[in-house]
């Protein structure tokens, strides 16, 4: 490994463990602890990726999870970031977005065509001639995107966990560690989160060669590790800040969702690149990137470097290079070197030329920097008459910083431009949110620590409910950023955004075309829209736009810092899969009986009993059993609501359209619920068990809503009543058919005789010894009893009834048979025969609307709608031969226009024809004409109108008493 340095004091690698991995099929080695980029650099591989648009060779930039030009696909994951992805033994990688290989990318030709592909070029072309656009689009789509997705990957879901703390400190550098200690010392429980595998932050790459720092480092790390109130999460990214200090932290094991009481962002700074021609060549990198390479991975970034700087950090980086034996060809300072700087003399003493007020005009080289041209600079323009060339194989850029302030922005903070620092600093932060250290503009180590002590203590104060003020006293007064680290070049290729391959001229042109607002600039040029989300581009973008507009940075503003700070895997966001499914107490018996299930909301219900191949026959047999003998259906999914209390009658009276207060004890009545606009939302049966006690059923899908709505009414109207939702607690089954009474009779102490228990009656008593409520209702149009009983009793009762009924032809029946049976009776299913606008008049249920009641929900609307019926639900019948083509939701056509739709249709063996319901225009309904139904393929099936109920119109079979109360059309 030619670029591997001797052992570094703080290195993260374990030289005892050698790992092997492959890139493009070639084998490489690394040490345990290396990242992919570090390992490749150690072996002299400098081209790590190709750029998004021009396919230019790119190398490392930051080594801090922002190197989105060095992305690799593995067998298991797309576009891993090489700068932070640890090498694992056997890892097999391919570079992303490469046509050919890293060194020979056929698409690099695009780089030569750059002048034809200016910013926003895709808006200007490809649409004429129109017919060719699909061709161009296919081509563009082929070139789009980065990594490759394997469509056969399985769902990798990782469970989430929760963490709670008083103070969440994000960033484990000197300020973060100190803030954590200060908060913990003040009594707060602290969680310290850092995205690197080891705490230390800049202390371990920017301050390594400063002997005064050693004690501080050791002490901070020891104290953090030993403190009982501090928990540490390493390799953990605080991905975003949401309302109420809700912070998802993304770790290699999955997401930890942290709820904190206060937040300290000690997130540091993002070093910003200089903009000069070919600033993207491999070998040109951020100074901190080079320092990370040296101190973490013991990898030499190059052999002979030029350091471009505008701050003390750059000089320190140059000294770091010298310390590990890397030649420094020159230090180029954009500003005037600080005269008192001891670091300047340290360099010059060792023969390193320091050129003040110079800049790099351009870098040279084809796939690796080989030299730079430097020249005196004045406000971004180079004096080329005094240019000189310096050979080098590496360039370190240390020209300025942007705060890693994403979390502070998301928490509701704002930033302003500090004219001393030439950098953005926090301006106002919401209560409980604190910034500490470099992100807060404190640069000297002592200032960072002092700032962090303040922040930590203030955060602890906040948790105790004390007002926590902050001083800005620790902010540096000297610039650490160049206000204009940008050099013009007539040939361009001076990149501002490496993700998106945007050059200085692209931004200028976008602004010139009117996109001269920071948000419009972003959207037109796509600056900051790549995978790093502008971490190295936005600051220079703002500087460029501000200058073009002749205004300040604050006036120019910035784009919104949205979650996430770093991208988060979907499988981690998804977490463990949880799909609750509700099974009725009889589910096991249905399985035994060979039921095929369908889902109804969260419930599973038997659709029919039998083999899938015999579906229609099975359903027909079930229908036949009910019509001719007896059938049993599980209706446990119905809502079952108990209304108890002195105001129970008032509540039910006002919540439903029919009169309910005059319902006699021991009787039931159809119950229809509409919303404020008069639209049908639910129906069921109301049974009165006592003066102050009603028992209501509701549709499966609306049961919970109805329970909630009734509860709301009680609160709003101040009623003395209770709603008890017994839906899951009780089971229900309906035994129906001419023989139902004889099957049930032996098992119950309730007198089933017509006189004692008339149609629409309700009785309490016992079945098989269990307490039950029997409701004599007729949804399917035969003599029948709905048995409501405690869930644990359901199995026994069902089994016994089945056994006893078997000799008589009893069959369990499913939802499909029930639908068919009720259709023959013309009964409406809410949500199928009605839609989101259907009122009771349209559904033919005028009889259920008692406008004489002074009030019920929806009454004002229904009063108005009464005389204004737009549509009507009508019945139709067709001979089986033609009718079999009709499907629900086929259209009814009149005079060539849509006049309605079929809402229910079924082939009725009982009636010997196809019958159905259709919701049609009122005019057509009045006329009584035959319906023209357009079936699949466009054929017209003529259906004659038929009154409902189609079957047993007088209701003799269910023994209708004097009152006709069931819902039918």
């Amino acid at each position: 490994m030619p670029y591997r340095l001797s052992r570094q004091p703080l290195e993260w690698i374990d030289r005892e463990q050698t790992l092997r991995f492959t890139l493009e099929g070639r084998s490489y080695t690394s040490y345990q602890g290396d990242t992919v980029s570090a390992a490749l650099l150690a072996q002299g591989v400098t081209t790590l990726g190709r750029s998004f648009k021009y396919h230019r060779p790119r190398g490392v930039l930051s080594l801090a999870n922002h190197d989105v030009n060095a992305l690799f696909d593995s067998d298991m994951e797309p576009q891993l970031r090489g700068d932070v992805t640890p090498v694992t033994d056997g890892l097999s990688l391919t570079p992303v977005n490469v046509n050919g290989s890293l060194t020979r990318d056929r698409d690099s030709i695009i780089d030569r065509l750059g002048r034809f592909l200016p910013v926003g070029f895709y808006y200007r072309a490809f649409h004429r001639p129109r017919a060719l656009f699909p061709f161009w689009e296919r081509l563009i789509r082929r070139k789009a995107g980065l990594g490759r997705v394997d469509l056969d990957w399985s769902a990798r879901r990782r469970p989430k966990r929760y963490a709670f703390c008083d103070v969440l400190v994000v960033g484990g550098g000197p300020a973060g560690m100190q803030a954590a200690l200060s908060a913990a010392d003040a009594g707060a429980d602290v969680l310290l989160v850092d995205e690197q595998p080891h705490l230390g932050g800049s202390l371990d790459y920017q301050w390594v060669n400063d002997p005064r720092v050693e004690d501080i480092r050791t002490q901070l790390k020891q104290d953090v590790a030993a403190h009982p109130r501090i928990g540490v999460l390493s390799s953990a990214v605080a991905a975003g800040v949401y309302e109420d200090f809700w912070v998802p932290v993304s770790t290699p094991e999955g997401i930890v969702k942290v709820r904190a009481r206060a937040l300290v962002a000690a997130t540091g700074l993002l070093e910003q690149p200089a903009v000069f021609r070919n600033n993207d060549l491999p070998g040109v990198m951020l100074a901190t990137g080079a320092q990370r390479l040296i101190h973490r991975y013991a990898v030499a970034p190059c052999r002979r470097a030029v350091v471009l700087t505008a701050n003390a950090e750059g000089y320190r980086a140059a000294l770091d290079l010298l310390a590990v034996g890397i030649e420094v060809a020159a230090v180029i300072d954009i500003e005037t070197p600080q005269p008192s700087g001891e670091m300047v003399s340290a360099l010059t003493d060792r023969g390193v030329p320091v050129l003040g007020r110079h800049a790099i005009y351009e870098a040279q080289g084809s796939d690796q920097v080989t030299a730079v041209t430097v020249a005196p600079v004045e406000d971004g323009r180079c004096d080329l008459q005094h240019a000189r060339e310096i050979a080098c194989d590496g360039v370190l850029m240390s020209v300025g910083w942007a705060p890693a302030g994403h979390l502070l922005y998301q928490a509701g903070g704002s930033f302003r431009y500090d004219d001393h620092l030439h950098q953005l600093v926090p301006d106002s932060l919401p209560p409980g949110v604190f910034a500490a250290g470099q992100v807060n503009g404190a640069f000297a180590l002592s200032a960072q620590l002092a700032d962090a002590r303040d922040a930590g203590a203030a955060a602890a104060d906040h948790c105790r409910g004390e007002l926590a003020g902050r001083s800005e006293g620790h902010r540096d007064r000297l610039p650490h950023s160049s206000p204009w680290p940008i050099v013009e070049h007539p040939k361009g290729r001076n990149f501002v955004d490496f993700d998106e391959d945007l050059q200085l001229k692209d931004l200028k042109q976008a602004a010139a075309e009117g996109f001269d607002n920071i948000e419009l600039l972003k959207r037109f040029s796509t600056i900051g829209m790549g995978p790093s989300q502008g971490k190295h581009a936005n600051m220079n973008g703002i500087r460029i736009l501000a200058r073009l507009l002749g205004q300040g940075i604050d006036e120019t503003g910035s784009t919104t810092a949205r979650p996430f700070y770093h991208s988060v895997p979907m499988g981690d966001l998804a977490g463990r899969r949880f799909r609750p499914e509700r099974l009725t107490p009889l589910h096991g018996l249905h399985l035994e009986a060979g039921a095929q299930f369908m889902s109804a909301g969260a419930w599973l219900r038997p659709e029919y009993y039998g083999e899938p191949g015999q579906r229609d026959a099975a359903i027909a047999a079930e229908v036949r059993a009910v019509r001719q003998a007896v059938g049993l259906v599980d209706v446990s999914t119905l809502g079952k609501l108990e209304i108890i209390g002195p105001d129970a009658g008032t509540l039910v009276e006002a919540a439903y359209t029919m009169r309910m207060r005059n319902l006699a004890v021991g009787m039931t009545r159809y119950a229809l619920m509409v919303d404020d606009s008069g639209v049908i939302v639910d129906d069921g049966v109301a049974a009165r068990l006592a003066d102050d006690h009603y028992y209501l059923s509701a549709t499966t899908s609306h049961a919970d809503t109805t329970a909630r709505e009734l509860g709301r009414c009680i609160l709003e109207w101040g009623l003395d009543a209770q709603v008890v939702n017994r839906t899951g607690q009780w089971a229900a089954m309906n035994i129906a058919g001419p023989l139902s009474r004889s099957v049930l009779e032996p098992f119950t102490d309730i007198d089933l005789d017509d006189a004692a228990f008339p149609y629409l009656g309700v009785r309490e008593g016992k079945v098989c010894g269990y307490p039950v409520r029997l409701l004599r209702v007729g949804f399917v149009g035969e003599l029948g009893y709905e048995i409501h009983l405690p869930a644990p009793a359901a199995e026994t009762v069902w089994r016994r009834l089945c056994k006893a009924g078997k000799p008589l032809g009893l069959r369990p029946f499913g939802v499909e048979a029930q639908r068919q049976l009720r259709l023959e009776k013309g009964h409406v299913i809410v949500g199928q025969d009605t839609d989101g606008l259907t009122n009771p008049f349209e559904a033919g249920m005028s009889w259920s609307v008692h406008l004489k009641k002074p009030y019920f929900i929806g009454r004002p609307s229904l009063e108005r709608l009464k005389g204004d019926v737009q549509r009507r639900l009508v019945g139709f019948r067709v001979p089986q031969a033609e009718g079999s083509a009709i499907r629900e939701c086929h259209l009814v056509i009149a005079n060539g226009e849509i006049a309605g739709r079929v809402t229910s249709v079924g082939d009725s063996e009982t009636l010997g024809c196809v019958v159905g319901l259709a919701m049609i225009d009122a005019a057509l309904a009045e006329a009584g004409d035959a319906l023209h139904i357009r079936v699949d393929g466009g054929a017209d099936v003529v259906a004659e109108r038929a009154d409902t109920p189609f079957y047993d119109p007088d209701g003799a079979r269910q023994r209708v008493a004097e009152e006709q109360e069931l819902a039918h059309v």
Partner: protein, 413 residues
Amino acid sequence: MPWRLLKAGLSKQPAPPRFFPQTESLKPRYDVVIIGGGGHGLACAYYLAKEHGITNVAVLERGYLGGGNTGRNTTIIRSNYLTPEGVKFYDASLKLFEDLSQDFDLNIFYSTRGHYTLAHTDSAMRTMRWRAEVNKHYGIDSALVDREAIARDVPYMDLDCAGNDAVMGALYHAPGAVARHDAVAWGYGRGAYQRGVEIHQQTEVTGVRVEGGRVRGVSTNRGDIECGAVVSMVAGFTPRVTDMVGLRTPLEIYPLQACVTEPVKPFMDTIIVSGSLHVYVSQSSRGELVMGASVDPAVLHSTRSTFDFVEGLADRLLDLFPFTSRLRVMRQWAGMSDLTPDFAPIMGSTPVEGFYLDAGWGTWGFKATPISGKTMASTVANGQDHDLILPFNLSRFHDYRLVGEKAAASVGH
């Protein structure tokens, strides 16, 4: 390489002219003031100038052009609605969209991708058939397709949804498309500007002056203006504007959120929507998966993001596309949807003379951009509601003439 790029690349001409004007002062009077410089507002200005010769128009935008829901939606364009009113309206919109690149001479990347609305229950299947039948009646290419057809076209979808609520079929809408949303606003903006319309960004309307039941002018943070007509095209901010003229609407504002993954090589060519799973997804020409869900559960006038949203979305999307678990979500954001009770828009004249409303865009505003602009321009120019938008007038809420579009509009985007 297209000829135009070659020509432009070789020419020595300076950059193309500006799309939008630099800030200029407000005139004391305009014939029409449009509040809101999003797609709808700019389109209305464009058609006022282009088709009605009305150019003394100011578009006032409190932020930047297209910065509201125009720049926040997931760019899906379709016409597979349920009601005849909706189908005709959105079909007219889609047809305008198809020609926009030519009209603007600006490529909006209108890309016909095909659009699946998955059905996981038999009641959803019924609704899909209903929509398909209504669509076909109006000559719109929609069809109910079965599992096998979906499996052929989208072989990488898990039709069994990891074990719950398997896909039973889908409504397939071949004309379903996506477009570069920003470019639509820019194209309209440039076209309007070229025809003499004034566009004022960073200009916030603070009041609307109504005298004798008639609009007289507006107040802004940059001064007062007189005008003959005011058109409010501000989506989630509508209640603030209607409050200024004392108009009541049944609008409720709900946040609608979306997110994108990092860009990967395109593999998903169609647009896929599942109402049961509350997800919709397409892959942009940059390679990002653009994803959204239903509106937030509670009313809120805010564009804050929530973590719950992105968790829930990822959870459900993995049921359909397990392999996306390895993709990474890069960015999330939110817009404010102005929802009506019937999921149809509110358009046209109002009881306040000269005050026109274009609102109720809920989660379906982008796809209506061209037709809204065109019909609102016609309505303002002729002082009479355009035929296509008659059913959408605010009065329908008083008259019980709702346009029940929920089944097709709610998540269907």
